[in-house]
């Protein structure tokens, strides 16, 4: 079972650290560029940090759509939901 509140916590942590944003200012609706002051370098870094945090690959065409905290959160949740179970033997 994936714990969604745990995912949310981790996404917010990544956003706060990468964008040096006050955690209190980060909501689902926060736009990375307009509200949290991200420039394009920050956006590359944010995607990279999310990939590292969740051991996921985020293709460029998906990354472009991640413009808000909520969009990133939903994307990571979907990834976690559709992820294959680890191979067992």
């Amino acid at each position: 079972m994936t714990d969604y509140s745990e995912i949310e916590e981790r996404v917010v942590n990544v956003v706060a650290e990468t964008l040096k944003a006050d955690r209190g200012r980060i909501t689902r609706e926060s736009r990375f560029v307009e509200d949290l002051g991200a420039d394009s370098l920050d956006m590359f870094s944010l995607v990279t940090q999310l990939e590292d945090e969740f051991s996921a690959t985020i293709p460029e065409q998906d990354a472009e759509k991640l413009t808000t905290v909520g969009a990133a959160l939903d994307y990571i949740r979907d990834k976690a939901r559709s992820a294959e179970p680890p191979p067992g033997r």
Binding site: E17, T18, L19, K20, G37, L41, D42, F44, S45, V47, T48, Q49, E51, D52, S55, T57, P87
Partner: protein
Amino acid sequence: MRHRAVVTGIGLVTPVGTGVAEFWNRARAGSAACAPLPEHWRLYYEPQSTIWAPLPSHDFSAFDISRIEASQLDRAQQIALACARQALDAAGLGYELRDAKKNTFAVTGVDPLGFGVFVGTGIGGATTLLSTAVSHVGLPLLAGLDHLRRRLAEEGTSPDALAEIEALRSGLRAPARFDTFAVTRAMPNGCSAVVGIKYGLLGRNATCAGACAAGTIAIGQALRAVRSGEMTLALAGGVEYLADDWGGVFRGFDVVRTLVRAGDDPARANRPFDARRSGFLFAEGGGSILVVEELEHARRRGAPMIAELLGYGETFDAHSVMMMEPSGKHVERMVRQALDDAQVTPEEIDYVNAHGTGTTLNDETESAMLRRVFGQHPLVNATKGLVGHTIGAGGAIEAAVTALSLRDQTTHPCVNLEEPIGGLRYVREQGRFRMACALSESFAFGGHNAAVVMKEIRP
């Protein structure tokens, strides 16, 4: 009017220590770095040289580099920032936060337009480039192997075949993802750029690519810029990071048989200017950056003065990308040019920090040249005996040693020197010496030769 330049601050990252205090204490005690190669490099290649000089730490967070910044920077760039911060602090130059989000600073009390950055490097971010190539090619290959293994498992292939695929897979040490910052980490000029950005320095910003002489060339460029009045201050030196995860850069040096043979006593194998030397000790990386400052500017702000930077010489062999010109005539021409530029005679040089790699040809050619130019008067030592060969950082680390030696009127001994060649006055033990003028020289792959001349600061 020709301005005079002084060294007012030094930063160091080396295999024998980080920071002037730690490095200088260990160096003077003759503490040398040496360790077995990373075991996993042998997955790809059986090395001829089996030892190296690793860095004690990769954590440069103490120098105001956040985890996120570090993830965007090549290690050579992180070393540049670590050295720059130390040098600014040592020179008594203050800074204030310029942009909290970007974690950038502004140096206070100086004109940023007159503050340049000159950083030498041999390969820049080449280890990033290698890891980019491996992830670019390796990740699809790994996915293919995983797919093949699953299919064969479903089809009931023998466990042996599956184990073979598993072994292939674990041998392919690909990074987890393609590096988004591949270009800005790999580009050689990133080394000076990140320093200029971090401290808001708007003066000339140049990266000098000159292999093993790069650090010396960068300091020479800084001296010329300060002397001409183009710059008032400069952060100048060299940085290098050579350890890709697969030992590929190491292999490049190893296959051309430039590296030391460990022999029966690995800890004593690295022995510049000894008859039984066998090559240079490959270093993981390192760096040194000096604050080079116009003398009157340094006086006005009461800066600590470590040594005067007196002259610079540079020549080219036009002989071979790999081999030194064996007569030594072009390194001699370079040394005489540096002395002329400094307006000192060979007799006035009391100390030479030699290039001293420990290869058969270098030490033979260099010791004969030093004997021709200087006779037996100057003290001679080789810092590569302690830290190994840091390529583009070497000249800068050695310039730092030269400046500190003049300041403290003492220097580090040559290590593992049992049968000295060339009849020079090698430093055999730590002690007090009288040193007024000194020379630090570097000779590079490609055929670039460079040296700086320094003078003690008299109270």
